[in-house]
């Protein structure tokens, strides 16, 4: 957690709650602190309250409870247009009746910036996103990717310190999206802007962000840098939501510091690393990443755990092979193997042994 950064916190959510209808809390007890210059991504399933958080920060929704601070000042009662926050909307929201240049000069005009200054800034912002020659066009005359760049330039042209982006790449095709991900992160870092980015594409979240906040059910489930999020999920939701994940259900038999013994539902007992389990007898969900499972058990270290498995399905995916197995009574166990020269190609029906290191096997809440 970034609580130790609170001294130089730039954006702060303090115990923020939000309800639209007075019956359901859409955001429940949100606490978040962002230092200046950070690129933070909000990731989560649809309806988890990401946009709502962003809208509260931008000032279009008011928090039902709690406080939002910007640079140490509470902004609960500051209207949106005085917050000075740049925003990129999911469908870009470029004004259709203005040209690109007019769109960009709009925030400068309302700030009463002089004409020559304005033109220089618009030109600089357009050049920054390589859209210099499109100033005279209307938004409808641009492709999706071009509109996206313009929207970005417009959000940046008045030099805000904080930029919010709500699924800005949602409408683009894969290739363009990857390219724009790269450009956005570069720009944000070059300009030193603090960015809150919303997406429900986890690859996007992992590749772009300094830290990712995983949302579910109106709460932040985990707030961590991408690698920690992937490798050390703190609860079963994060483990299942981020990346591919194998789960086995069991009960804690024994717990001692960094290790625990878990009895799986089919009777097998395995070692695991306790994460958010504490009591013996508690139900637990074991999480193992597919790429940490080995079919060549000889290659594992001495205290590896092995278990029998039956091959159900073998899927060729080019760079990797994806194999579905029946393990400990569950037949959705996936393993991934690299398509290397000597890799074994398993056949459905084959009986094999698989294994993993106990440290890769995390016992989470069920």
């Amino acid at each position: 957690m970034a609580n130790d950064l609170s001294s130089d916190a730039f954006v702060e959510f303090e115990r923020v709650q939000k309800s639209y209808d007075g019956e359901n809390l859409v955001v429940k007890d949100l606490n978040l602190t962002m230092p200046k210059g950070e690129f933070l991504t909000m990731l989560g399933p649809s309806g988890s309250g990401k946009t709502t958080c962003l809208m509260m920060l931008a000032g279009f929704e008011t928090a039902t409870h709690g406080e939002i601070k910007l640079d140490g000042i509470s902004i609960n009662n500051i209207p949106p247009h005085k917050r000075g926050i740049g925003m990129v909307f999911q469908n870009y929201a470029l004004f259709p009746h203005m040209t690109i240049a007019e769109n960009l000069s709009f925030p400068l005009e309302v700030r009463k910036i002089g004409k020559s200054d304005r033109e220089a800034k618009v030109k600089r912002a357009l050049d920054m996103v390589q859209m210099g020659e499109f100033g005279g066009r209307r938004p409808a005359q641009l492709s999706g990717g071009q509109q996206q760049r313009v929207a970005l330039a417009r959000a940046l042209v008045f030099e805000p310190e904080l930029v919010l982006m709500d699924e800005p790449l949602g409408a683009l095709d894969k290739q363009l999206r990857e390219h724009m991900q790269f450009e956005i992160t570069n720009l944000a870092h070059d300009l030193g802007i603090t960015t809150v980015y919303v997406t429900h594409d986890q690859t996007e979240a992992l590749t772009m962000s300094d830290r990712v906040a995983v949302f579910n059910d109106g709460r932040i489930q985990q707030l961590a840098p991408p690698d920690a999020l992937y490798e050390e999920p703190e609860n079963s939701f994060v483990a299942q939501f981020i990346g591919e994940n194998n789960t086995l259900l069991g009960t804690i038999k024994e717990i001692s510091g960094e290790t625990c013994l878990v009895q799986l539902d089919d009777g097998e007992v395995i070692d695991a690393r306790p994460v958010n389990v504490s009591k013996v007898g508690e139900r637990t969900l074991i999480s193992i990443r597919p790429e940490r499972v080995e079919i060549d058990t000889d290659r594992l270290g001495p205290n590896a755990h092995t278990i029998p498995a039956e091959v159900l399905e073998f899927i060729y995916m080019g760079d990797i092979f994806r194999t579905r197995l029946r393990v400990a009574g569950r037949d959705d166990f996936i393993i991934k193997t690299r398509n290397s020269q000597d890799q074994r190609k398993l056949k459905p029906g084959e009986q094999i042994r698989i294994g993993w290191m106990p440290r890769d096997c995390r016992a989470l809440d069920a």
Partner: protein, 558 residues
């Protein structure tokens, strides 16, 4: 790519692109689309036919009446033809005009058509209606002595069979004469004059006595077809005797050997002994109006088949021998009415925009449930009769009405000086604004509901205040809705009839009320058509101007 048809390359761009079977692509595309088009046409055919038959054709006919003026040449064709040669400089047309007028008036009086012409010409000059009516009654007095002289000469002249034999004669038939007269009567009475009449004029007698043959043929047609009598049994009417008297004055009977040659020669002798018939004096005796230059000027001006008279009238002008000029100030009416219609429609449109815009905005931005309720309120007027709503306004606005009573009760207005809000322009504007408001709100709403909230949010996030965000971002995008609503309301307003009729009094009526008056009361359909055509043209011009300025494709009605 197949080897048979090489695809178009940059080199042979000019050559037509061929489809797989070798026909030009354009042609085969057209063929493929034709079936589709025919099917589409089939689907709209019922409506198209309905609209054509029940709407466009009658309206086209109606508009045509604004220039059509064949009533003069249909009713008094001989006169009109003779007057063609008149230069209009002298006070009166040349003498033969009066003779032609005699035959025309006689026949049209028999067919009871002369009063219609009188009514028509009365639009242009008052007094002509009664002139025609009284002259139609007295026209058979002209040439009385000659008629009596011929009749007294020989009993046979009063016998239908005698006349029939004379006019039939021997030898070839004068078919052209018969056809001409059929057409003359058909035009006069606007009904068909076909069919056998038991008489065919002879060519010999038609050459010898052309006027008599003409008038007798007309008489025969009228007798047989209009009255259903047998021509042989009927004594001709006076005009035939007059024609005979005129013909005999110059006819050379020396070589005539046909039927009744002896009677003809005797009649010629008797007629030439009398002084010639003075048609001009005869008409002057009937009515002094016939020797007034004004009357002839008017008849001459309106004798062509098409006239600009109705249109001139519709813009407060009139025809004079020196061209068109404005009527005197106290006779002008339509210019004021057109201006008033425009001005009031504009006022109504503006107040609809003012009142409708906020409502449309609410409709587009309120949560579903409240928006639906509001929508019902907006549509409510559609579910009550127009007449009921207008009458309700009458009750609300009149001096002893609800609003005045309330104001007096509140002490805002003195009982003695109650506000006049009805039977004037204010009343019409209030009532019509209310009635046309939904037509403004609905198009605005449909445009506004397509403007996502994110635009305003984006504007605010960029630093715009509520007002700037509205004015610079929301409003421009809602302009097509305002345009669509305004054009709809304005066009509806300038043609509105019922409401101004009921609450407009004399100062709050529209041009349409005048059109209705001419259609149903004064029966001056030509003027009504001219006014309607001008109104129609104004709408088209407005539409065109709007298209140039805003663009019709920006208009969304839903």
């Amino acid at each position: 790519m197949s080897t048979a048809s090489s695809g178009p390359t940059a080199a042979d761009e000019s050559a037509p692109v061929l489809a797989a079977d070798g026909t030009p692509l354009k042609k085969s595309l057209r063929r493929a689309l034709r079936a589709q088009k025919l099917r589409a046409l089939g689907l709209i055919a019922p409506l198209l036919i309905f609209v054509l038959v029940a709407f466009i054709a009658p309206i086209g006919d109606m508009l045509f009446r604004s220039v059509e003026n064949r009533i003069v040449s249909n009713t008094i064709p001989l006169t009109a033809r003779v007057m063609d040669e008149w230069d209009g400089q002298s006070d009166e047309p040349p003498a033969p005009t009066f003779e032609a007028l005699y035959y025309d008036l006689f026949l049209s009086a028999e067919a009871r058509r002369h009063t219609r012409l009188g009514t028509r010409l009365n639009y242009e000059q008052t007094g002509l209606s009664s002139l025609f009516r009284s002259s139609g009654r007295g026209v058979d007095d002209i040439g009385e002595t000659h008629v009596e002289t011929i009749e007294d000469l020989d009993d046979r002249w009063e016998d239908g069979g005698f006349w029939h034999a004379l006019m039939t004669g021997e030898g070839p038939r004068a078919d052209d004469l018969l056809l001409d007269q059929r057409a003359r009567l058909a035009a006069l009475s606007s009904s068909s004059y076909n069919g056998d009449i038991g008489f065919e004029p002879g060519e010999q007698i038609a050459d010898l006595l052309p006027t008599t043959a003409r008038e007798y043929t007309a008489f025969a047609l009228f007798t047989a077809i209009e009255e259903g009598d047998i021509v042989v049994e009927e004594e001709p009417w006076e005009a035939v005797y007059v024609a005979l008297a005129q013909d005999l004055r110059s006819a050379d009977l020396s070589g005539y050997q046909g039927p009744q040659a002896d009677a003809l020669r005797a009649a010629q002798e008797a007629v030439t002994a009398l002084p010639p018939i003075d048609f001009r004096a005869g008409f002057a005796e009937l009515d002094e109006g016939w020797i007034s230059p004004d009357v002839w000027e008017t008849i001459n001006m309106y004798s062509p088949d098409y006239t600009t008279g109705y249109f001139l009238n519709a813009v407060d002008m009139q025809k004079t021998p020196d061209g068109a000029e404005f009527r005197p100030d106290n006779e002008r009416l339509y210019g004021i009415l057109f201006k008033r219609t425009m001005f009031m429609s504009l006022a109504i449109t503006l107040s609809c925009v003012m009142l409708g815009y906020p409502v449309a905005w609410l409709l587009a931005n309120l949560p579903m449930r409240s928006a639906n309720l509001l929508m019902i309120l907006v549509l409510l007027p559609f579910w009550t009769s127009l007449l009921v709503r207008t009458s309700a306004w009458k009750i609300m606005l009149q001096q002893q009405g609800v609003i005045n009573d309330t104001l007096v009760w509140l002490g805002i207005v003195n009982d003695a000086s109650r506000l006049v809000m009805i039977n004037n322009q204010l009343g019409t504007i209030i009532a019509m604004t209310h009635i046309l408001l939904p037509f403004m709100i609905l198009p605005m709403y449909s445009v506004m509901s397509t403007i996502p909230q994110t635009y305003v949010r984006a504007a605010k996030s960029l630093g715009a205040t509520n007002w700037t965000a509205f004015w610079r971002v929301y409003f421009p995008q809602s302009v097509p809705g305002i345009g669509a609503g305004s054009i709809l309301v304005f066009i509806l307003a300038i043609g509105y009839y019922i409401t101004p009729e009921i609450v407009g009094g004399t100062t709050g009526t529209f041009i349409s009320n005048r059109i209705a008056y001419h259609i149903s009361s004064s029966l001056n359909w030509g003027l009504a058509a001219a006014l309607g055509t001008i109104l129609f043209a104004v709408v088209l011009i407005l539409y065109w101007a709007y298209d140039r300025i805003v663009g019709i494709d920006n208009v969304k009605l839903g």
